[in-house]
């Protein structure tokens, strides 16, 4: 029996392995393309018309193949249920509210299914979901639309013709059009309008400057609007002010009442010293109230309205004394 060197077997093995390797590679590529080996996601979509869709046709999302048509079956006389096998990897990108539609690959290419995303948020699709669909862009539907458009067009042109007819027969309109003075007045009005807008622009500029300063926090108003700590103090001050004026109003009301009563304040004032003392006391109270009010106002001035001013004034004085 002949002796065979080991290298013979090695080369034979290599030869066979390379050949089988090529075959397996091609089959693997095909399998990946047809989604046979990767894990897939089964979803469904109901169509009225699938336009010659076949099992194995591509499903695309944004123009990228993400799966294939797994099966097509007729559910009833107006519904065809299409089972789609989607790549598991695209699951996060296909939402539950995605819309499936039938399309073609190029002008004369294969029928495909396009998945279209809808802007509103929705959870990712899951196995067994049924997608919404839109009717395919069929030629008869397009012709139907065109028919309606044509009818509308007829109405529009009819109306248009009437309008032009009326216009033609109206003397006033033509007079208006041919009046020279009207044009002149129109021109003047327009000039006035231009002047007015110029003024308006000026005010607008001022306004802008003002608001700009305000935004920067410059000027008392600006400060007022930008300082938050101050706002608190202001609130406090106004509250005090309010209570003071309340007291004042109360007192005055009492005074008025006393004057108006039969044993009015006048005689009381004149006859009764106690009353007079009371009155004095009241007046002191009023004095005290107004003093408080004045104090408050002072504090108010110190706090905001004039503080910036005073500072500026002080700085000005300083520079004036330094200059000479």
């Amino acid at each position: 029996m002949p002796q065979r060197p080991a290298s013979t077997y090695f080369r034979l093995g290599l030869f066979v392995l390379v050949g089988l390797g090529c075959l397996v590679a091609v089959l693997f590529m095909l399998g990946r393309k047809q989604n046979l080996f990767g894990s897939s996601l089964e979803v469904q979509a109901d169509f009225r018309n699938v336009s010659g869709l076949l099992t194995g046709n591509n499903v695309r999302l944004g123009g990228i193949s993400v799966g294939t048509v797994k099966d097509i079956r007729i559910v009833n006389d107006s519904t065809v249920r299409v089972g789609l096998s989607l790549d598991r990897a695209v699951q996060p990108y296909v939402k539950k509210n995605a819309i499936a539609s039938i399309g073609t690959d190029g002008l004369v290419g294969n029928t495909i299914i396009n998945l279209k995303a809808v802007p509103t948020p929705a959870p990712a699709i899951e196995s067994g979901d049924v997608l919404r669909t839109t009717a395919p862009l069929a030629l008869d539907a397009m012709l139907g639309t065109l028919n309606v458009s044509n009818k509308n067009l007829v109405g529009i042109t009819k109306d248009l013709r009437e309008i032009t007819h009326k216009l033609n027969s109206s003397d006033a309109f033509w007079q208006l059009l041919s009046d020279q003075r009207l044009a002149l007045e129109m021109h003047r009005s327009l000039q006035n309008l231009a002047a007015a807008t110029a003024l308006l622009q000026g005010s607008a500029t001022d306004m802008q400057q003002l608001t700009h300063g305000l935004r920067q926090g410059r000027g008392p108003a600006g400060y007022l609007l930008t300082d938050t700590a101050f706002a608190g103090r202001m609130r406090h001050a106004t509250r005090q002010l309010a209570s003071t004026s309340d007291t004042l109003a109360h007192t005055l009301a009492g005074l008025k009442r006393q004057i108006q009563t039969p044993n009015g304040p006048l005689n009381t004032l004149l006859a009764d010293t106690a009353m007079g003392r009371n009155l004095r006391q009241s007046l002191r109270n009023v004095e005290l109230g107004t003093a408080g009010f004045s104090q408050n106002m002072d504090a108010l001035k110190h706090n905001f309205l004039l503080r910036g001013y005073f500072r500026k004034q002080a700085r000005k004085d300083k520079t004036r004394t330094a200059a000479p």
Partner: protein, 252 residues
């Protein structure tokens, strides 16, 4: 007369094939001889088959370019060439070359062994020559032709890639994608399966012609020649059958 001879021959070859299935798979198994035959039949045919595949791929590409360019479909060349090679050209060209090389060599080898009584000598040496010579060779051709075809396809596609790059630029990845995009299992699997039958036909006819060679050196030449002619013809007939069968199975 010619017809009746052909029919009789077909019957005899069928019986020979039947004997192969009857005896070929019983022990004792001639594994060593089988491996050696695989080496001779497969590995040593690779250079010839490879060159053929290379030229086939290149010529197909260069020939189809002008026509495709007229239609502005140059980007479809890889797809078209890929389909052509994998579905039909690869298997049939490889099988024909294989029939020419291996069919004739098996016919001549077994024929000369017959006329110099080597086959008888094997029989009296405790060896079933049918198993030792015929079964191993038929199995080897059946198993090796598919491998050769796949390699020839691969070489042909690579040649096509080179030919496209002669007049334009494409990347290997794009080329591969273009080829694979139009392929389906229905293209690849039947094409591979039919090569098993081609290989079996080449082996069984070569062995039959050689095993029953007439006495004398003339018989050897005749065995080699008729082995090539008959197996080439049978390859075409099988190819036709394969097309019809895959069509019936809905794989086309």
């Amino acid at each position: 007369m010619a017809t009746s001879t052909t029919v009789a021959e077909t019957g005899a070859i069928t019986r020979f094939a039947g004997r192969f299935f009857q005896e070929g798979f019983r022990p004792r198994y001639e594994v060593q001889e089988l491996l050696h035959q695989c080496f001779v039949v497969g590995y040593q045919s690779l250079p010839l088959v490879g060159i053929t595949g290379f030229i086939m791929g290149m010529v197909l590409t260069l020939q189809s370019r002008p026509t495709m360019a007229q239609f502005g479909a140059e980007s479809w060349i890889p797809t078209m060439v890929g389909l052509t090679i994998i579905r039909e050209m690869g298997p049939i060209i490889t099988a024909l070359i294989f029939a020419g090389k291996i069919g004739s060599s098996i016919g001549a080898e077994l024929g000369s062994m017959r006329v110099t009584e080597q086959i008888d000598a094997m029989e009296v040496s405790g060896t079933n020559p049918f198993k030792y010579l015929v079964a191993t060779r038929v199995l080897a051709t059946t198993l090796m032709l598919p491998v050769l075809t796949i390699l020839s396809d691969a070489i042909g596609l690579f040649a096509s890639f080179l030919a496209i790059n002669l007049k334009g630029v494409t990347s290997l990845a794009l080329f591969t994608n273009n080829v694979v995009s139009a392929l389906t299992f229905g293209d690849v699997v039947p094409a591979v399966i039919k090569t098993f039958f081609f290989g079996f036909a080449v082996g069984i006819i070569g062995c039959y012609k050689g095993y029953y060679a007439e006495k004398g050196t003339e018989g050897v030449g005749q065995a080699a020649n008729s082995a090539v002619v008959a197996s080439s013809l049978v390859i075409f007939i099988l190819d036709l059958l394969a097309v019809q069968t895959t069509g019936l199975l809905g794989l086309n």
